[in-house]
Subunit: 317 residues, 4 copies
């Protein structure tokens, strides 16, 4: 068994990572880090968690527990300051280590690029033991457009995310009185996932995210000019994937089929009047957009079955 520590386990992505670890036949949680819950039993986070789990410890304590595998579900600042223990596989779910360009990394996260590899398994498999897990929006845009890199222009990504993408911290824009029955664009033209998408695609990207009044799920509608055979490229890229499904012509992705799962759906459309290709990706921001991909990256780094522990089955309505 591979021993696992989760730092920041009480946040959304942390709890979801724990969910996958508990379902994984070869991972064993040995340390649950949370500075706010340190000393309390696992059930303090959620009554579904029972006494077989260790009580919460501090994030520092969890880091020092000697685990083989660490998941960092921390703020970017905390993740940037984290010193990886020698020999361990570390998957960082924050944005601290995603940008390879020194200027961009400093501008958006106040960090310096290091020895971390960017891990999006279907397109950019992780290398080494230090893995930067992609952002939720970036994952959706890249699954849609990554296979077209070098052959696209005029990229617009209009994305819509459920509330859990904003994290558990209390703030006005996460207050239910603001979110319910509302739709609000935010960080228009100024979101830090834009340079992350552009870094992988090699072209600038106009990116606008919107906050949806739903708990989970993310949909990115991507508009490009291209002369590539988009369907052929995407079907070829994901032909053997158990995670990414290219839908038949005429079928659009929707949140309902990916919520609570680690799967992603892609739909491909053409606008004849303008010659625009539209690729739409739906995924769960906490699944393929965070915890599911983190465990998938860990599986690859450890040589385990790529989809062990992932939520990929079921046809809930």
């Amino acid at each position: 068994m591979v021993s696992v520590a989760i730092l920041g386990c009480a946040g959304y992505a942390g709890q979801e990572t724990l969910d996958r670890v508990l379902a994984h036949p070869e991972l064993e949680p040995v340390a649950l880090g949370s500075d706010s819950l340190a000393g309390r039993p696992a059930a303090a986070l959620d009554p579904r968690l029972d006494g077989a789990l260790p009580p919460f410890t501090t994030n520092e304590g969890a880091a020092a527990a000697g685990a083989d595998l660490l998941f960092l579900s921390l703020d970017g600042d905390e993740a940037a300051a984290f010193e990886p223990p020698s020999g361990a596989v570390v998957v960082d779910l924050s944005g601290a280590h995603r940008l390879a360009d020194a200027d961009l990394a400093r501008a958006w996260y106040g960090t310096a690029p290091g020895a971390w590899s960017y891990g999006l398994p279907e397109l950019y498999p992780p290398t080494g033991q230090l893995i930067a897990n992609p952002g939720c929006y970036a994952t959706a845009a890249l699954l849609a457009l990554g296979p077209l890199a070098g052959r696209i222009d005029n990229v617009v990504v209009d994305a819509k995310s459920g509330l859990s993408g904003a994290g558990k911290t209390l703030k006005q824009t996460s207050h239910a009185g603001f979110v319910l029955e509302n739709l609000s664009p935010y960080a228009v033209g100024a979101h830090r996932h834009a340079p992350e998408i552009a870094q992988q695609l090699g072209v600038p990207v106009c990116f606008v995210p919107h906050l949806l009044p739903v708990r989970r799920g993310l949909l990115a509608t991507c508009y490009v000019q291209t002369d590539a055979d988009v369907r052929a490229l995407l079907e070829d890229t994901y032909a053997s994937s158990a995670v990414v499904r290219v839908l038949p012509a005429g079928v659009a992705p929707e949140l309902a089929r990916v919520q609570g799962t680690d799967a992603a759906e892609l739909g491909i459309f053409a606008d004849v009047s303008t010659g625009t290709t539209i690729v739409i990706c739906a995924l769960d921001n906490l699944g393929k957009g965070a915890a599911g991909q983190a465990v998938q990256n860990a599986n690859l780094a450890l040589g385990l079955d790529e989809t062990s522990g992932l939520r990929l089955h079921g046809v809930l309505v």
Copy 2:
């Protein structure tokens, strides 16, 4: 007093039109048409409607009631077949008379262009007595981009609408089990509001609508390339409008502030990395997107105060 007949009064747009007519000091409802409710009292539609209103009659009966002003809240087919009574002002809320090009009108609605004027008061004031009321999506896109016509290129309109935009008819995609906690793109690259927007802008438009899990409200995120001073043009266009509000720099429109009203909000943003201008419009699909605009058009055609009967005041949270 101007006598009013509403055909299709039991649908969403019909009931909302009645709402404005009841609030209007110079309009008096004399005939409520509904083939399904004919013969029943007004309260059969909604217990808030009292006995002072006439009972429902058939749409044919309402058309023949001799009203000075008729609102058609019918299917496109029914509206296309409707014979306007001589001398009356008629506002058609369907799409039957929106497209001026004969081929487009036939292709999208199976109708022929006639003597109807397209009435979007702030940009294209109605002329004559027969008025085609714009589509909800088209209204939002045109309020955002109409003042830039002739100076924009590469137009992408990514729109999101509440459920009531789909009407009261029972269909799988309006079933709450499909809508709740979901987001679904539909008619991707093939929605009939696209040629309507293109007709007014003079350029082709890539248009993708999405169905939101909210009852009311519509938000259109519009992406263009332009060298115009967008803020100056929009602020100038709407400077004296009581309906359309251009928000200060940095403030984004949101559904919550326009739901239940006949107002619209515009926000203007720039994406530096791609040189894209982003104009976002929020409105209520049943308000400025349908009934509010219909009454506004009728006010203009009848020489009444443009905003009489409209819902423009209030700061509900």
Copy 3:
């Protein structure tokens, strides 16, 4: 014109009170109090508020503005400590002055009963210049059961409220990640509106509130044993009311028809198998449950038309 000061104007109930004051032909807002927004323009709260309004001042400043009418939309503690200016009408929207029993007032609010009258206009019209505005849950339960006081037993009130009832303060149970797609009972058997309801009914009440995933609206399902002719009593009580509507037999109240309004709906049902009478009340927690009722109380205290400024018309879908 009657000059008005609103203390706590930046909260939900404060903003809604301002909404009614702005619509009122005889009230004029002269001071908007908010300790967090003091010094900023009205538009800082909401871009729909324009420059004709005075900028925000502190709550202390608003209290000292010499207004004829003050609305207190403050925490209970702040309202309890508030010294009413001599000669002014004061409507307190908090719970500080609702309980007449000294022990109960101390136990639930840490306050002492004073010279405040409990004002629920249809049942307990306010007297004097200091008025305690009822709680939202209490208003619903009392509209349903007040006319039956003295003739009911075994009272169960199962209530469900939209999120805005919990206020704008940031807390975990108001975070959208907790509220969305959820339903949660809270303060089970221990909510401070229970003694308020019991005080007016004269019998103990088993009261359980639940938090709904909607922004506005409250529904109370009330179960009692009684031998009274409930329909006759309720129809008689509300026969001349423009605010409370007793629905016909077989029609149930629902949130959608009262949201955004100051009206209330009552439905009356019998359970034959147990001999239970079920009275259901729907209202908007921010309307009849707070700001609408506050303005209604103020109108009565000032000798104005009881429903001036209220939102009672319209048939929005």
Copy 4:
């Protein structure tokens, strides 16, 4: 392997049953019945279903497929008319065979009681091969109150259900324009789950259901007078259950923790002022309230592990 046929597989409960069957190590789906989808591939219902499954057949065809185990997810009328194949285990998810009293069965379902056992595993384990699966509301009320049978009086069950409890059929009250941002009581004092609950408890029950604006999940707030030690009785009853969890004192059930699962949560509270005991149950109407319980019943009838195929693990936020 046990061969399985699902009749009515295209409805919500049918698809959810298929979800559990696909996850079950000892069940193999051999026939998917749906009169509307007959002849089409499984993916016509949901693109997540792949080609390894047989195409849809008619319900008659599925019944005749010779399966060892049949799930009936049909209307009550169809289920009542169904002739069970000899030797097969049949679990009926409709209400046709739930009421043992001939008059009640005829009055509520137009059926006659037969040789079917009522199967709610934790309280009333099924016997024989023909099993009537309890209603969703009845399951929640009985999990809360069944262990108290014979010791309770004045039973009020106030229940709230997500939309999927109403089924996939198109009707006005399932239209999203009616459901979104609304809450509506229905069948007040006249719902057919009331006699089902009363039958098992041995006392009459006042039952009122409400429709919530959520896709999944059901919460029943049950009010009783009793002198039993409720916590001791419930904790004892469910001590060894992997499905039903009695929450610690002070913790209330909520929908979010049971959605998408086959688990149920119980919370126990006291109202001191009236001496009322409040037991609250949360479950997923499609899980423990339908498909999960159906598979659980089938497991018991076939001598398999009681929880095989059920969704009981995971801590999704």
